[in-house]
């Protein structure tokens, strides 16, 4: 029987987005994502009937990698988000929700994909150039002379992961810890180029979160018996370490393509072992205290070394080799504690995110206002811009004013819905008509309310409600207004408890969301290979 099989013809579906099933699944996905968004987001428990761990999370990276996605369109969406997350580690949910919202809103407008993708691209470039401009009203430059901004940034990230199950005290402790760990990786005397060190997260499960700590240097796991043998170390002078990346197991490497004839009675193993032991003798005579090997150390050599009170650690693996070989550089270990495995996993992801975001912030020293304020502010800016200066967009595209208005509305309300997704308890979501910031009110609001009393601070915490402000419901239509640009410096300096977002990750997330939405909206066919 031939193993060649006739290929089955593919299945070709036209206009995939119009299919009811696709809409429904998109809607389900959006539901999953929005309900997990933000500090008060609901947790998702992902478990497989075939076994394995149960994962309780609200983070996009964990969610998206676990969801079984089969429809090609959703696959595009989720892979796009996963790729974003693996680049930036942050703003995954923001990107995914924005993308879903855009697709949904655009479909509702009934505009042709051609027009919509063109206009979306224009609106996106308006957003990016505004966010990068000096006049941007939702961007704060990071002042490295004080840790305040960076601490706020880390705290916002830790706070936005409810599945870590942290109390307020634990959050503060951990945020400070993460920032300290990051600062330890910055070399003290830098030349022209800054090369950051590593921070290694060491798991200590089952302990109190408050027991977490940061240590400079590297921790290598070792059995207690081994430890008992070498303790106490009485040496006062320098501690000598020998690091091997090659195997010390005495295996015999490549002999070439020809044949090798070994005469009877000659033992190559002995020869190799003899070499290993002479290496051991050399190490001992060089007063080496610790031998670390990436691969396996031959038991005889190990025994020989321990007889001479040299600590031998093997199989440290390639992951540890790099920081080990750079041990003179800046490295620290973050001992991370949490009560159980699931929460620890979530906490570890959170720490990695925060450390990565700090690295990104060093490269691009600014942050965006969080808590939904950037989204609503941006939406207000775009609305105002397209209402007052539509010519700049319309002149080269052959679109009508109406098409631009419809498209802008779809775009801006997609942004606003992302902000609105932060509210999960049925409260009202509003925006003020001066700064364009995001405000949310408690659910049990009386019908006639005094807004300044009900609202305390805006989403990012920059403004409080006692100013003379006017509010409008996010879902209602309102006249376009100019949101206040140029963030005053004193405003950002005074507030010490702001909610902040990573600039680089959010900007890229915005671009990726719009590009992915455009891509999906532009699909005319799906051809599924059924083999």
């Amino acid at each position: 029987m031939s193993r060649l099989e006739a290929k089955k013809p593919s299945l070709c579906k036209s206009e995939p987005l119009t299919s009811e099933r696709v809409r429904a699944t998109l809607c389900v996905l959006k539901g999953i994502l929005t309900s997990s968004y933000g500090p008060s987001g609901r947790l998702k428990q992902v478990h497989s009937g075939f076994g394995g761990c149960v994962c309780t999370t609200s983070q996009s990276s964990a969610l998206l990698s676990n969801l079984p996605v089969t429809h090609p369109i959703l696959k595009i969406l989720t892979t796009s988000m996963q790729n974003h997350v693996s680049c930036f580690r942050d703003c995954g949910l923001f990107t995914a929700i924005l993308c879903c919202n855009l697709i949904e809103n655009v479909q509702r407008t009934g505009l042709t994909p051609t027009t919509v993708t063109k206009l979306n691209q224009h609106l996106l470039s308006l957003c990016t150039s505004y966010l990068k401009s000096e006049s941007c009203g939702c961007r704060i430059l990071v002042d490295f002379s004080s840790p305040q901004t960076l601490l706020c940034l880390v705290r916002s990230i830790v706070t936005s992961k409810p599945a870590c199950m942290l109390t307020r005290e634990e959050r503060d402790h951990l945020s400070a810890l993460i920032l300290r760990a990051f600062l330890l990786t910055i070399p003290e005397n830098t030349k022209d180029r800054l090369i950051l060190g590593n921070s290694i997260i060491v798991p200590l499960k089952g302990q109190r979160v408050l027991d977490s700590s940061v240590l400079p240097g590297i921790l290598i796991e070792m059995s207690e018996i081994q430890l008992m043998k070498i303790l106490p170390i009485k040496k006062s002078e320098a501690f000598k370490v020998a690091l091997f990346c090659a195997s010390l197991s005495g295996d015999f490497s490549d002999t070439g393509e020809g044949t090798m004839v070994v005469t009877y009675g000659v033992s190559l193993e002995n020869a190799v072992l003899e070499q290993l032991l002479s290496l051991g003798r050399q190490l001992v005579s060089d007063h080496v205290d610790l031998v670390v090997c990436q691969k396996v150390i031959h038991p005889s050599l190990k025994q020989f070394l321990s007889m001479h009170r040299v600590i031998a650690i093997d199989r440290v693996g390639v992951a540890l080799m790099e920081p080990l070989s750079k041990v003179t550089a800046t490295i620290c270990s973050l001992l991370l504690c949490n009560r159980n495995d699931t929460a620890w996993d979530e906490l570890k992801l959170t720490c990695q995110t925060a450390l990565h975001v700090l690295q990104l912030t060093i490269k691009e020293p600014c942050v965006l206002l969080g808590g939904g304020c950037t989204e609503t502010h941006l939406a207000a800016y775009i609305r105002h811009k397209t209402c007052n200066e539509p010519e700049s967009i319309l002149k080269d595209d052959g679109c009508t004013q109406t098409e631009l208005q419809l498209s802008t509305e779809a775009f801006c309300s997609a942004l606003e819905s992302v902000a609105g997704s932060l509210e999960h308890d049925g409260g009202e979501v509003l925006t003020d008509m001066k700064y364009g910031h995001f405000w949310s009110a408690h659910a049990e609001a009386p019908s006639i309310v005094n807004w300044p009393d009900l609202l305390s601070r805006c989403g990012c915490g920059l403004y409080n409600s006692q100013e003379e402000l006017h509010w409008s419901f996010l879902k209602s239509t309102r006249h376009p207004f100019v949101p206040q640009t140029y963030l005053p410096h004193e405003a950002t300096g005074s507030a010490d408890n702001l909610t902040l977002d990573c600039f680089t990750a959010k900007l890229s997330g915005l671009q990726v969301a719009v590009e992915t939405a455009n891509l999906i909206l532009d699909l005319s066919y799906v051809i599924e290979d059924k083999n």
């Binding site: 006739a6 070439g256 020809g258 891509l519 005319s524």
Partner: protein
């Protein structure tokens, strides 16, 4: 082609056409599977809006029965199904298609070739079409969608034309079998006409009529052929308009243009650069997912997709060597034997090997080598000693990467046995820099190689949110260079010139300069051309010779109005467009056979000079590609039927504005030709081709309204042609003439093949290349 699927014999419609497939797939396949229970039960699939009403579901089941005969109808049905799919992706308004692979990968594409491949069609006619399309793509890299549309329209035209006849043929008494046979004969005949037309007439029309409209992407300012940047940009914009999403069109064409000009050391090296980029495109591009498309960029130097095995930062002059074998000597080489007699010997050998490796690396260090590139994995000791010697190492280079570096730098691999000797190593070159590069936490080696050729090495980093999009852009970019490579080559045209003195009425069509005598006698045919000669008279003596011919021809002018092309003020039609006026110098191949012919007699010499004049005339009016028709055989001078092969070219860099210009122009000239045709078959064939050509512009202008709708454009263009006014194109952008021309010939060849098939035999057998005779008998 006749391989049938494992299913029942009969017409197998392409996948999209079966509603039952749709039904089979709807339940249980949705995302997320775990969640479907929460959803309302899946609704029946909605019919998609717009034509076609059934969303690509084109083949009525009734047609499946007819599949046994390789009929035009069956082929038409298939072509129509394919047309529906590709036409939505065609042109600047075309949309994307998402293809999934069995491995779970998703790919975005607007590439016709890829779409057709992804469909895995089973229908024999469809497979034939796909085979032709892919062979066309291998040649030109573009035009798959146009191929399908054009083929479909040709088949439709043939079908419509024969519909009437069929009714009369299909009289009741005629047996089905005989009717089928008769049909086959007729199709065979038509296919022969098509083939004759394609090989003997088409080139002539392109060369004679169409060529006057060609523009060039070379700028005319200098004698040298230099690429005009703005023309190249509009060419690429038009190309990417059909290959990538609309949002990325301008970005991608700018990126490609930048890349091309950055890689080109001097103006004249474009061919070399294109060859190299096309051959090594995989090595010259890096895909990065997770970033927005707008982050794509061009980096100088080469980017190797692997990390350093050892990295030792170095400044200043960095000397590199390539090795293709392990630096460390081995115990035994292939074919040899190493005899080990004692443990001490073994240890000495190992020691020697180590020392030897160390010595080689020391020697490399003394020669100032800072980087070792290796195509194989090197043993640990090599890595160790090179680290000590301050030499960075990159291992496991692919053969293509090695060959690219060798081609750029001229560096040849190091011969190791000599490496440790004291003399200088000559196989080294300098690089500007050598450093690690990180894209989204993946590490690369960035190498600033210095080129010895006209290619300045640059890499293009393509970013995109998903791998599928990056792949699409990579394919499109590669295709663009393929297309440019084709464009910058001359394309040969050759055709048969036929004249028969019995039929002078038909000669306006086939007249040519090489056939002067009968025309001089009859006085009517050559007039337009001589008219041109006179108007541009550069040599008064010649005017004398022909002045008498001009007079009688005047009254004849009225009867050959449609044929007025040659006498049309040959001033080109794109005077308004600055970039299009950059014409390349005309290239003409003169056949060696001319030599004796020139000296033979007075008539010949007259002929010859006249040709010169017309040649000059053409140069003055800047019509590129307007090669002189040079007679090949002396026979052409004889009064009786003359036949000759003519050789000409579509010169490198010929372009036309996009938006169906090529199609409408050729349509016009074909109709014009058809009117002159003597044979009814020839008229028919050129009419069918002419009408089918309009298929593409019809799709391109489908979404346009009012003044830009297809009928408007069509009428305007035809009017402009008839009144010799310059044509105004509504779209900016250019396309390669050679590509379009090749497409046309490929389609006609495909059609000829389809028409000659009378029966499709379905066999139920596994596709096996080599079938063992014995085992077959056993079975």
């Amino acid at each position: 082609m006749s391989r049938g699927g494992p299913r029942k014999p009969g017409l197998r419609p392409p996948g999209p056409c079966r509603p039952r497939e749709e039904g089979r797939l709807s339940p249980g396949n949705s995302f997320p599977e775990a969640l479907t229970s929460q959803l309302p039960p899946p609704a029946p699939p909605l019919p998609p809006p717009g034509p076609p009403p059934s969303g690509g579901c084109l083949l009525p089941p009734a047609l499946r029965a007819m599949a046994a005969t390789g009929s035009v109808e069956a082929a038409l049905q298939v072509a129509e199904a394919l047309e529906t799919i590709v036409s939505r992706c065609l042109g600047p308004e075309g949309r994307q298609v998402l293809c999934t692979k069995p491995t779970g990968e998703v790919l975005l594409s607007r590439d016709g070739g890829r779409l057709l491949g992804a469909l895995h069609l089973e229908h024999p006619a469809a497979r034939l079409v796909v085979a032709y399309v892919s062979s066309h793509l291998r040649k030109t890299g573009d035009g798959a969608k146009t191929f399908v549309v054009f083929l479909c329209h040709l088949l439709r035209g043939l079908h419509a034309m024969t519909d009437g006849e069929q009714d009369s043929l299909a009289s009741k008494h005629m047996q089905t079998h005989r009717r089928h046979w008769k049909n086959c004969c007729r199709w065979k005949l038509i296919s022969q006409f098509l083939l004759t037309f394609q090989t003997h007439r088409l080139d002539y029309i392109v060369d004679h009529y169409l060529s006057r409209h060609f523009g060039s992407i070379f700028s005319s300012s200098t004698k040298e052929r230099t690429l005009c940047r703005s023309s190249l940009e509009s060419l690429l914009a038009a190309y990417f308009g059909g290959r990538v999403g609309r949002n990325n069109r301008d970005f991608m064409s700018r990126l490609t243009c930048d890349y091309f000009f950055k890689c080109m050391a001097r103006e004249r090296g474009s061919e070399e650069v294109l060859d190299l980029v096309d051959d090594y495109f995989v090595e010259l591009s890096v895909g990065v997912t997770g970033l927005p498309v707008s982050d794509s960029r061009i980096t100088p130097g080469l980017v190797l997709p692997r990390d350093f095995s050892v990295y030792r930062p170095a400044d200043g002059d960095i000397r590199i060597v390539i090795v293709t074998e392990t630096v460390q000597p081995l115990f035994s080489t292939s074919g040899s034997e190493f005899i080990l007699r004692s443990e001490a010997q073994f240890q000495t050998s190992r020691f020697w090997i180590m020392e030897r490796t160390k010595a080689i690396m020391k020697h490399l260090q003394s020669q100032n080598v800072k980087l070792l590139l290796s195509s194989v994995k090197q043993p640990d000791s090599v890595i160790y000693y090179s680290g000590l010697a301050g030499i960075s190492v990159v291992e496991c280079l692919s053969p293509e990467e090695v060959s690219l570096i060798r081609r750029i730098t001229g560096l040849s691999p190091l011969a190791l046995p000599h490496a440790s000797s004291q003399d200088e190593i000559c196989n080294t070159v300098l690089v500007k820099f050598c450093k690690p590069l990180t894209f989204r936490s993946k590490r690369y080696v960035h190498l600033g190689v210095i080129s010895t050729s006209s290619f300045i090495p640059h890499c293009v980093v393509l970013c995109g949110p998903v791998q599928g999009l990056v792949e699409q852009h990579r394919d499109a970019l590669h295709g663009a260079f393929k297309m440019l490579r084709q464009l910058l080559k001359d394309l040969d045209l050759n055709y048969l010139i036929q004249t028969s003195d019995q039929n002078h009425t038909s000669s306006p069509l086939v007249y040519n300069e090489s056939d002067p005598l009968p025309e001089v006698v009859n006085g009517s045919i050559q007039r337009p051309r001589q008219d041109t000669v006179l108007r541009n008279k550069s040599k008064p003596a010649k005017t004398q010779t022909y002045s008498d011919l001009v007079v009688p021809s005047v009254e004849l002018e009225t009867c050959i109005i449609p044929c007025s092309a040659p006498k049309v003020t040959p001033t080109g039609t794109y005077q308004t467009d600055e970039t299009l006026r950059c014409f390349s110098p005309t290239k003409t191949r003169i056949n060696g056979d001319n030599e004796p012919f020139i000296e033979s007699n007075s008539a010949n010499s007259t002929e010859n000079t006249r040709r010169e004049i017309s040649y000059e005339n053409l140069q003055i009016t800047k019509i590129p590609g307007k090669g002189n028709l040079l007679p090949v055989r002396e026979k052409t001078l004889e009064i009786c039927a003359a036949q000759g092969h003519c050789f000409s070219t579509i010169p490198a860099g010929c372009v036309l504005p996009v938006g169906g210009n090529f199609e409408i122009l050729l349509h016009y000239y074909l109709l014009h030709y058809a009117k002159k045709c003597q044979q009814s078959e020839e008229t028919m064939v050129s009419m069918i081709i002419a009408n089918a050509l309009l298929g593409v512009p019809k799709i391109l202008y489908k979404s346009k309204k009012g003044n830009c709708s297809f009928p408007q454009i069509y009428v305007r263009t035809l009017h402009a042609l008839q009144t010799h006014q310059p044509m105004v194109s509504s779209q900016t952008g250019l396309e390669s003439v050679a590509g379009k021309y090749q497409l046309l010939t490929s389609v006609l060849q495909c059609l000829t093949k389809i028409l000659t098939i009378d029966l499709v035999i379905n066999i139920k057998r596994q596709p096996q290349e080599i079938y063992d005779q014995d085992s077959e008998e056993e079975v």
